[in-house]
């Protein structure tokens, strides 16, 4: 956290400078070209302050980009991102963490928060994610299909059934009629990804978005049964949000065409 601060401030300063430059341009060419950046600060009630987003770890990269774009559109707003496992975040929110928005990787964790009375209004599904087989780039176990996960001689990493990615894995194995022979049941999807990208596991089950963020070290293999365990990502403004207006604006942006396009680029499916 603390290591990020200096960069964060540099980013804020940079954005402020960019906003000033943009303002200068806009003043110079006033009257025309209103189509660009339609959500400009002048057309909406001016938002300001800090908006804190608690988001599932799998959203780290894409929400990082969303922050940059959103802050550019709302120069008075600072977006603070806190990533973690959905269940841990839900626990933090219910314990009174000062968050404005919760974006979860599973409907169940969002339900925990809503049942605890911490959500303002009904959550909206903003994205979906599907499982893919992840193998090290040279595929040492020669894994090509889901049935290869039943082979005890291969080193297999999947998520524990207690966490969302593991529950999804159980579902696809059931619908494929496969008894998997895992060597480790990881606590989260990044744990699986680490083992695969370092070549310690011959194959793992992760989300499509994780394969994309892992880059060249990991190869993704889509499989048909993944359609049986599509994971919904719900988002909601929280009841005790310190900045409810900015929170709503952020959620609206995530649900907007621009937000959905960004999510699609990161490998998420449409809601």
């Amino acid at each position: 956290m603390s290591a990020r601060r200096p960069r964060y401030w540099a980013l804020v300063a940079g954005l402020a400078a960019a906003a000033l430059a943009l303002a200068g341009c806009a003043a110079g060419s006033s009257g025309s070209g209103s189509g660009i950046d339609s959500a400009s600060p002048s057309t909406e009630p001016k938002l300001s302050g800090t908006v804190t987003i608690f988001a599932a770890a799998s959203l780290t990269e894409v929400f990082g980009e969303a922050k940059t774009i959103f802050e550019k559109q709302h120069p008075g707003v600072e977006v603070v991102l806190n990533f973690g496992g959905s269940s841990a975040l839900a626990e933090q929110i219910l314990s009174g963490a000062p968050a404005d928005v919760f974006a979860a990787a599973s409907p169940a964790t969002m339900t925990t928060v809503a049942d605890g009375g911490a959500a303002a209004g009904a959550p909206t599904t903003f994205a979906t994610n599907t499982l893919e087989i992840a193998v090290p780039k040279d595929n040492p176990g020669k894994v090509t299909k889901l049935a290869d996960f039943a082979d005890a001689s291969r080193t297999i990493a999947i998520c524990a059934p207690e966490v969302p990615c593991g529950a999804a894995a159980v579902k696809v194995f059931q619908s494929a009629g496969i008894t998997a022979a895992p060597d480790t049941l990881e606590q989260d999807v990044k744990g699986v990804l680490t083992k695969v990208s370092l070549g310690e596991a011959d194959a793992g089950l992760v989300y499509r978005t994780d394969v994309l963020t892992a880059g060249a070290a990991v190869k993704g293999i889509p499989f048909d049964e993944a359609a049986d365990a599509v994971n919904d990502y719900p988002i909601a403004v929280l009841k005790d949000a310190p900045s409810p207006d900015a929170a709503k604006a952020f959620v609206d942006w995530v649900l907007s065409d621009a937000g959905q396009k960004l999510l699609a680029k990161a490998g998420f499916g449409a809601a």
């Binding site: 496992g85 269940s87 841990a88 626990e91 080193t155 990493a157 524990a160 207690e162 966490v163 895992p182 060597d183 480790t184 049941l185 990881e186 606590q187 744990g191 680490t194 083992k195 370092l198 070549g199 310690e200």
Partner: protein, 262 residues
């Protein structure tokens, strides 16, 4: 000096250390504690935790004790290599355990510096085995033992050893009859710290050894996993781990460290 100068910060310190545990105890689902703890999976995880932590402590004593003795003999060295050596021994203490786990994978994993050779020559792979759990625990907990023993060595009066030598005692006799008794409090305190640190070890274990019931899933790993679905059960498991640590600390401290007992 007024008594408040010591007592007030001391009480604050005690509160910082103890209040989170009090909260844990207050939130604990006492009614279902029995059923949670009696679960076969919990007994299995606790058994694995106790055996691996004991194994790590024995290994740390056998290897870390001599390392501390050797470090004690570097006092005549120039400052730079001596400090560098001590810093290297301390690194696992300040390293985030998850990073330690990655480092172990890069060394002993199937593609690691040494691990790849083990795999090619003997067909041995270490990750995802109980041995990997012990290695991860030794990596994070042995520095406690080394530092404690080295501290005790530094504080002990080396003239006893010199005296024993002039009286004709062999080096082995000096070690056994003079040095070890001198550093015994440090050694036993270090071993205790080492054991309890190994018992609570999470990050390096989950990264290097993975998590599979009965093989690599120790109690801290099982606790964290429970937190995802059943926070109450996780609190119950945390209480078990806390109780085991307390029993070990209280019972062994008085027996093994007479100098520190009240």
């Amino acid at each position: 000096m007024s008594a408040g100068v010591v007592w007030i910060p001391a009480l604050v310190a005690l509160a910082v250390l103890v209040l989170p545990l009090v909260a844990l105890v207050v939130r604990a689902p006492w009614g279902e504690l029995g059923t949670v703890v009696a679960q076969a999976s919990v007994v299995q995880a606790l058994g694995l935790s106790l055996t691996t932590a004991a194994a790590s402590t024995v290994i740390s004593l056998l290897l870390g004790g001599p390392l501390a003795l050797a470090l004690g003999r570097t006092r005549s060295w120039p400052a730079v290599p001596r400090r560098l050596l001590r810093a290297l021994v301390t690194v696992p203490l300040v390293l985030p355990p998850v990073v330690g786990g990655v480092a172990l994978l890069l060394l002993l994993g199937r593609r690691g510096l040494i691990g790849s050779l083990l795999d090619a020559w003997f067909g041995i792979t270490i990750p995802f085995t109980t041995a990997a759990v012990v290695i991860a625990q030794v990596f994070v907990s042995m520095p406690f033992l080394v530092l404690a023993v080295e501290g005790a060595l530094g504080a002990s009066d080396r003239r006893f050893e010199v005296a024993a030598a002039t009286l004709g005692a062999s080096r082995w006799t000096i070690l056994r009859r003079v040095t070890l008794p001198l550093i015994w409090p440090g050694l036993s305190a270090g071993a205790l710290l080492c054991f309890t640190r190994a018992l609570g070890e999470f990050g390096a274990t989950v990264t290097f050894a993975g998590s599979f019931p009965g093989i690599t899933q120790t109690l801290p790993l099982a606790t964290y996993l429970q937190l995802q679905t059943d926070p109450d059960a996780a609190i119950a498991l945390a209480l078990v781990l806390m109780a085991v640590s307390l029993v070990v600390l209280v019972s062994l401290r008085d027996r093994w460290i007479p100098g520190l007992a009240s």
